[in-house]
Amino acid sequence: MKLRKISAIFFYLLFSSAALTSCKEDSDMQPKVGTLDVAIDHVVGTATLALNTGSYATPAGDQFTVSTFKYYLSNFTLKKADGTTHLVPESYYLVDEAVPASKTFTLSGIPAGDYTSLSFTIGVDSARNVAGAQTGALDPQKNMFWSWNTGYIFTKLEGTSPQAPNTALVFHIGGFKAPHNTIRTISPSLKGATIQVQGTQTPTLHLKADVLKMFTGPTTVRFTQLYNTMGGANSVVVADNQAAGMFVVDYVHAN
C-alpha cells in the first residue's frame, strides 16, 4: 500500500517535469502566433458616455442618464479570406465603463495571418452559464451573476429617466434558454480592413459601443413602458436591438 502511494508521487513528479520540458519544445515547434489588441469607446449617439453626469436623449425623445454600463464580450473568432477560423480560447471579457482599463484587452495566441472578418458574442455562451464556480471575468464576485435563476447578466445598464414611472432605469439583459435566449453573436464589418496578425506587431481593433442602440433598432424602446428588465421577453427585445448595431468597428490600426 505504502509503496504504491510513494510510486504514485514519483509518477506525479515525473509527469510534471515532463510537462515542463515538453512546454519548451512545444513553443519552438508551434507556428508563429501574434496578438490583437481590442480598444472600445463608449458613446451615446455622437456624444461620449459620461457616467452620472452626462444627460442624453433617445431618438424617440426620452431623456436619460447612465450610472452603470457594463457587459460581457466573449468567444472572439477571427476568420481568414480562405475561410479558416480561429476561436481565441478563454476569451471572456467584462467591459465596464467605470473601470477604464477594462475597455482595452489583448487577444493572444492567434496564428499569424491576415484576417478579413471577426465575430464575438455579446454575453456568455450557454455552457459557461451553467459550469459552476468560475474565475477571472466570470467570477460571480463581479456581480454579473443571477443566483436564483442561474446565469450571467450579459449587459447591465442602470440609470434614470424622467419618463420612467419611478425614474429608475434597470436593464439587466441576460438569459440563455429559449424562448428567452439573449446570447447574440455578431460580426461587425471591418469596412474592408484586414487584421494582420504577426509576431512583430500588435494591431489594434477599435470598437465603438453605442448605448443608444439598446433602445433603437428593430424595436424602439420607450421608457414609459420598458424601464426595468431582468431577463425574459423584454430582455430579448433589447438583445435584438444590441445585435443590430450596438458594436461597430471604428478602425483597425495596423501597429
Partner: protein, 350 residues
C-alpha cells in the same frame, strides 16, 4: 503553458505531502474516507461526478466548517446548517417555511439535502443549475443570509485559520470565490444517503429484510408513485403539478424560471428518501404527516390547467386511487427509506 506546469508541480507536491501524511496516520487509525466519494451500487451515474471536484479530506472538512459557519450570514447568526439539520436529513425540521436572518420568513420549505450529486437542477423551481454556484442564492437572499459574496470573502480572508486551511488546499492566497464555492461543494456533494433498509434490501445485503406490509408498500409505490418518484433516487427530477392549488398567485413554481404559462404550479418532484423525517411536506410545507400527503393524492386533489396528466383518471376523478390498506402499506414502506447511518454519520456533523 509554463503556468500550468507550475500548477501541476504544486499539485504533485501537495499530493505528495497529502499521501505522506495519510501514510503516517494509517498506522494509528482506520481508513478515513470522504463520505459519498464512491457511487452506491444501486445508483445511476452522478451528474456532478467526484472527478469534477475530487474529494480530499482537507477540502471536505473545510467545506463542512463553511457549511456550519454563521459568519456566512450578515448578522452572524445563521449558517447553512441552521436551516438544514443533519437529524432531519438536512431539511428544516418543524419549519413550514424557512427562517433566515432576524427571523425573516422565506417563501418555501427547506428540502432535505441528500444525493445532490445526482440532481440536474436545484431548488423547488430548478432555478439553480449547478451545485457550486447554488449557495450564492441563500447567501444573498435577504430572507435567508442577507450577505454579499464580497463580505463573505472578506470575513474568510480576515481569519487566520481559514487563510491557512484554504492555502493548504489550494496552495495560494487570498481566498477567492472559486475556492470558496468549490470547497462548499465538497461538503454538499458528499451528502449521500444510500444506506436505508430499502437499500440493503435491493442490494441483497445484511439487515435488508422488509416486512410483508413494507413489501406491499414498495409494490404500490413502484406502480403508483414511480412515474414521478421513480428510480433509486425516488425522483425523476422533473417539474410537475400534483394538484395542491387551483391558482398560483404567490408562487408559480417552475414558471417563475421559464416564464411559460404551462409551467405554472409545477415544482420539482422531491425525493422520497428519508421522507419520514422531512415533515412538513411540499414546497410550502402545508402537510404535517405522510397520512395527510396520501389523503391528498387519494381524495383531496385540486384541478388546474397544468395538473399533471397522471392524475386524471379514466373515471373523471382526480388523483391516485389508494385503499386504506395501500395507504398504510405505503407509510410502512416510506419508513424503510430512513437512512439512520446518514443521520448519525459523525463525519457530516458540525
Amino acid at each position: 503553458m509554463a503556468r500550468y506546469s507550475w500548477i501541476a508541480l504544486r499539485c504533485a507536491i501537495a499530493l505528495a505531502s497529502f499521501f505522506l501524511v495519510g501514510c503516517n496516520k494509517e498506522g494509528t487509525s482506520p481508513a478515513w474516507e470522504v463520505p459519498g466519494a464512491t457511487v452506491p451500487a444501486n445508483f445511476p451515474a452522478p451528474v456532478y461526478a467526484a472527478a469534477q471536484n475530487p474529494p480530499t479530506r482537507e477540502a471536505y472538512e473545510l467545506g463542512r466548517t463553511l457549511f456550519y459557519d454563521t459568519r456566512l450570514s450578515r448578522t452572524g447568526a445563521v449558517s447553512c446548517g441552521s436551516c438544514h439539520q443533519q437529524s432531519g436529513a438536512f431539511a428544516n425540521a418543524d419549519h413550514r417555511l424557512s427562517q433566515g436572518v432576524e427571523g425573516r420568513l422565506g417563501a418555501r420549505n427547506a428540502p432535505a439535502l441528500q444525493n445532490l450529486r445526482w440532481k440536474t437542477s436545484l431548488l423547488w423551481d430548478g432555478g439553480a443549475t449547478h451545485i457550486e454556484t447554488m449557495p450564492l442564492a441563500p447567501i444573498t437572499d435577504p430572507r435567508e443570509m442577507d450577505e454579499t459574496l464580497d463580505n463573505v470573502l472578506q470575513k474568510l480572508n480576515a481569519d487566520p485559520a481559514y487563510q491557512q486551511r484554504f492555502a493548504q488546499v489550494y496552495g495560494e492566497r487570498p481566498i477567492t470565490s472559486y475556492q470558496f464555492l468549490r470547497t462548499l461543494a465538497q461538503f454538499t456533494a458528499a451528502l449521500t444517503s444510500a444506506n436505508s433498509r430499502y437499500d440493503h434490501y435491493v442490494r441483497h445485503e445484511a439487515n435488508g429484510a422488509l416486512s410483508a406490509a413494507e413489501l406491499r408498500g414498495l409494490a404500490t409505490a413502484r406502480q403508483k408513485c414511480a412515474p414521478c418518484h421513480g428510480g433509486e433516487l425516488f425522483t425523476d427530477e422533473s417539474f410537475r403539478n400534483n394538484g395542491l392549488d387551483a391558482t398560483f398567485p404567490a408562487d408559480s413554481g417552475r414558471a417563475h424560471i421559464t416564464g411559460r404559462p404551462q409551467d405554472a404550479g409545477r415544482f420539482k418532484v422531491p425525493s422520497l428518501r428519508n421522507v419520514a423525517l422531512t415533515a412538513p411536506y411540499m414546497h410550502d410545507g402545508r402537510f404535517h404527516t405522510l397520512a395527510q400527503v396520501l389523503n391528498h393524492y387519494a381524495s383531496d386533489m385540486v384541478d388546474s390547467p397544468t395538473l399533471d396528466a397522471q392524475f386524471r383518471r379514466p373515471n373523471g376523478r382526480l388523483g391516485i386511487s389508494l385503499s386504506e390498506q395501500e395507504k398504510s402499506d405505503l407509510v410502512a414502506f416510506l419508513h424503510t427509506l430512513t437512512d439512520s447511518a446518514f443521520l448519525a454519520d459523525a463525519r457530516l456533523a458540525e
